[in-house]
Symmetry: D2
Subunit: 147 residues, 4 copies
């Protein structure tokens, strides 16, 4: 059950509280909010890996989105406290994939995946430097259960 394995991760999960602005006229969270939450959890994960994303940009790289999937199972509501679990599921020199789970207590609300391509700041694909890759691949990844 990789989606609910956050308890065993070596760092605290990302916790967010649903903002009113994130809801829509159906009374629940708008679906385009989930990729934003994924990004919040990705930011936290990269901090935990010792590679804050802002430092990646400061060194001249972007990790641009090449693909996004979300599966919605249950709706989230205003003021719900949610955990967002992010994992880095694959890393190559120019691409990487993260997976996500959104939980309310033990209830799985959504899962997702983002695929990224490393580029320079003219948006051209670029190989990430070795020290960046090694932070992404180890020991951070080795400490991640189920990836």
């Amino acid at each position: 059950m990789p989606e609910t394995g956050s308890e065993t991760a070596p760092w605290p999960p990302t916790v967010i509280r649903v903002r009113y602005a994130e809801t829509d006229a159906m009374g629940v969270v708008h679906h385009a909010t989930y990729p934003v939450w994924f990004e919040v959890a990705r930011t936290d994960l990269m901090h935990h890996l010792g590679l804050p994303y802002r430092d990646v940009e400061a060194r001249g790289y972007y990790l641009m989105l090449s693909g996004l999937n979300v599966e919605y199972r249950r709706a989230a509501r205003y003021d719900d406290e949610l955990r967002i679990v992010a994992r880095l599921s694959s890393v190559r020199s120019r691409t990487m994939t993260f997976t996500y789970a959104v939980l309310r207590g033990d209830e799985l609300l959504a899962t997702g995946e983002t695929r990224h391509i490393a580029t320079d700041q003219t948006y051209r694909p670029a190989r990430l430097p070795d020290d960046v890759l090694s932070l992404l691949q180890a020991p951070g990844r080795a400490r991640l259960p189920g990836t």
Copy 2:
């Protein structure tokens, strides 16, 4: 090439101009904007099918998202004029799938898909009424090329 076949659709494509608020610090459109644009094109498509989504809600139904995919090929920028092409690719009594293409001139920027489940307004799956289904299935769909 279903993605670029909008020229043959029986109605004008959805045209949007990129808003500044839709960009991010990479200088291009943030990826979570694309599902919002898909929704704009879906609204237009349902108007063209004679079934405005607001009327679906007025009759007591929601078409909630159960799945979302986006493939990003090229970045969009502030003030770009884009066409969003939406198609209804499958309809059943409780579920439906739309596909999308985002174009800047002849250049394909992104493609995507949204999967929906019909619910009542307590968020329980519900069978859509026959007259709603027939508007979604024909003649509207029959007039849609490539679906």
Copy 3:
């Protein structure tokens, strides 16, 4: 200096970390994000007052915005940790005003105000019940310095 007086408030300040999606192509936070942060801090403040906003809605009322002001002094950036200080500066039976300050460390980034009108759920102005008003007016307000 009411803007920076959060240290003396009887509850912890609202802390947020800037999301990438909140930035724009200028490289800093988009100005329309600030009212969203104000709302996050207002949600927290109402929890602290013993009157969660979701309970206000559950009882049949909305606190709709009638006015918004923001003064922007310095830009916020991706991944900045910010404190948002909210205060309830006036309460009447049908209207209320909140004021806000956005801080990065000791640096004041922005201040703002939101004015609200209480309505029923058909959006008509409505007098708030006495028990709601008393939670908003005392002892909560009495504990708020500088308001």
Copy 4:
């Protein structure tokens, strides 16, 4: 009635249709959407003045927000067609002010104002070049009624 004087402006008004993502759980448009609409109308206005904002940035300047006011009178709903009227109400060498009205048919939903400061791309206040100022001040402004 400067708010409704768009009929006499020498260019077509900005027309937008309310997006579902712009609504919130109150069933109406979230208040933080209005500054985004103002920005859309400001973009259009600057095109009409012969000074597209993207060109301002390409020349090395930003027009950053220093202040925002919105007065909300009536709520907008999903799928409403709205006109956003923008005017440039004052221009100096480093600052300018725009005013806005949001209309649904003849009904005034909201008014607002944004105050801007010209900066270079390190966010330092900067004097706009004379040719930029003259486009902002005349003949465009001269053709604007009530400003």
